[in-house]
Each structure stands twice: as C-alpha cells, then as structure tokens.
C-alpha cells in the first residue's frame, strides 16, 4: 500500500497559482494518483486523477514526473473559496486488500 506525504498546511493569496506536492516513493505500477478536496463540514469531493505526465480539467492540473514518485496538484488563480483540505491518494484498488487511505491532507488557506 503506497504511503503519501504532503505538506500539513499552505497559505497563498487570491489570484495566485498554488502547487501542492505529494510524495509517494513506493507507488506501484498499477497505482493511480487521485486528489480530493474537502470543505469544512462536507464530505471530500473528487478533483482529478492521473497515471503519468499531465492531466488537466476545468478545476486543476496534475503533474506527474516520469518516475511517478511524486505528483503536484496545481490550482490556477485561486480564490477565497479554494480554502479547503486537499488529499492525495495513491492506489489501484484492484485487489480487495488494497484499501486506499486518506491521510491528514494539506490545509490550504487563501488570503485576500
């Protein structure tokens, strides 16, 4: 089961680009990298998922280097409403014993 390490907290300002990096040194060949966002008093919400190189959707971009031992979630031009906890998860889940784990996540605080 791949373990992830991400910063506990980050601060940024409105309009800036925010990059949150996640380390997953023992990622397995079949593992995908998934990011979730959680607002206070709500359940997590899926943001983006990728396997290698770069993935982009209407909310964020995910950059994954060739060795896949880390990944970076990029949020363009953040606003106050992007203040939330962001979780990096690694896994495939194709085996019943392969449970994907939510860590403590990164608390992102956007300042005006």
């Amino acid at each position: 089961l791949a373990k992830t390490t991400q910063p506990i907290s980050m601060d940024s300002y409105e309009g800036q680009e925010v990059n949150i990096t996640c380390s997953h040194n023992n990622i397995a060949t079949n593992d995908y990298i998934t990011w979730y966002q959680q607002f206070p008093s709500q359940g997590p919400r899926f943001i983006i998922q990728g396997y290698k190189t770069k993935v982009t959707n209407e909310v964020a971009s995910l950059f994954i280097p060739a060795d896949r031992k880390s990944s970076t979630l990029s949020l363009p031009r953040v606003s106050l409403s992007d203040t939330a906890v962001y979780y990096c998860l690694v896994g495939d889940g194709s085996n019943r014993d392969d449970k994907i784990i939510f860590g403590k996540g990164t608390r992102l605080h956007i300042l005006p």
């Binding site: 997590p44 899926f46 979780y87 889940g93 449970k99 784990i101 860590g103 403590k104 996540g105």
Partner: protein
C-alpha cells in the same frame, strides 16, 4: 439523482446506547464505504462493501457492524457507544474499485456523552 444520502445529520448518544447510521445511494454503484473523521484529522476507513452481500473490514472496524442486503443501502451499526466514537461519519460510493472516483454523502455528526 440524489447521489449519496445519509441520516441522521446529527445525533447525541449516551454511553452504552446503540444506533444505526443510514446510507443510501442511487447511482447503482457496487462499492460503498464508511469513514470516520475526527477533528483536524483525515478520514479513516471503517468498513467497505464490494457489492450486495459482501462486506469487509477497513482500518478501524472495532465497535461497528455493517450489512449490505441491497445495492443501494449500506447501514452502519454502533453497538454500545463509547466517547471514542464521537466523530463525523461519512458514507461514500464508487462504481468500481477503490481507485475510482468516490462520491461522498454529507456526513453524520455523532457525539457520545
């Protein structure tokens, strides 16, 4: 679609009482999950199910029980509530295996006094 719904939203229990947290999804998802989240912490997996009639333990199953008689419903049972079970409980579902996008319910905030 309503997605994943949970009831109740809030509940206060006395030590030793029992209760069932309800979870229903209308997306015809095979996988369903129960998590708990303590203040300032991440989510911990309690139990999960890969389909009707099949359940399995997660990281922190002690003190809880589950059943999955239908695709839609995945209730979580707390027997003999303890203060350590004070937490926010989230139910989630996904179409396929763990790696697929999980859809979360709004949560149940439980306090055991």
């Amino acid at each position: 679609n309503a997605g994943v719904t949970q009831t109740p939203k809030f509940r206060i229990l006395k030590i030793g009482q029992s209760m069932t947290l309800q979870c229903t999804q209308d997306m015809n998802h095979n996988y369903m999950y129960w998590y708990r989240q303590d203040p300032g912490m991440g989510l911990k997996l309690i139990y999960y199910s890969v389909g009707a009639g099949i359940t399995d333990k997660g990281e922190v199953p002690n003190g809880y029980n589950v059943s999955r008689s239908t695709t839609e419903d995945f209730p979580l049972r707390l027997e003999l509530a303890a203060p350590s079970q004070t937490s926010v409980y989230f139910c989630a579902s996904s179409y396929g295996r763990f790696g697929n996008e999980q859809f979360f319910g709004p949560g149940t905030r439980l306090t055991v006094l």
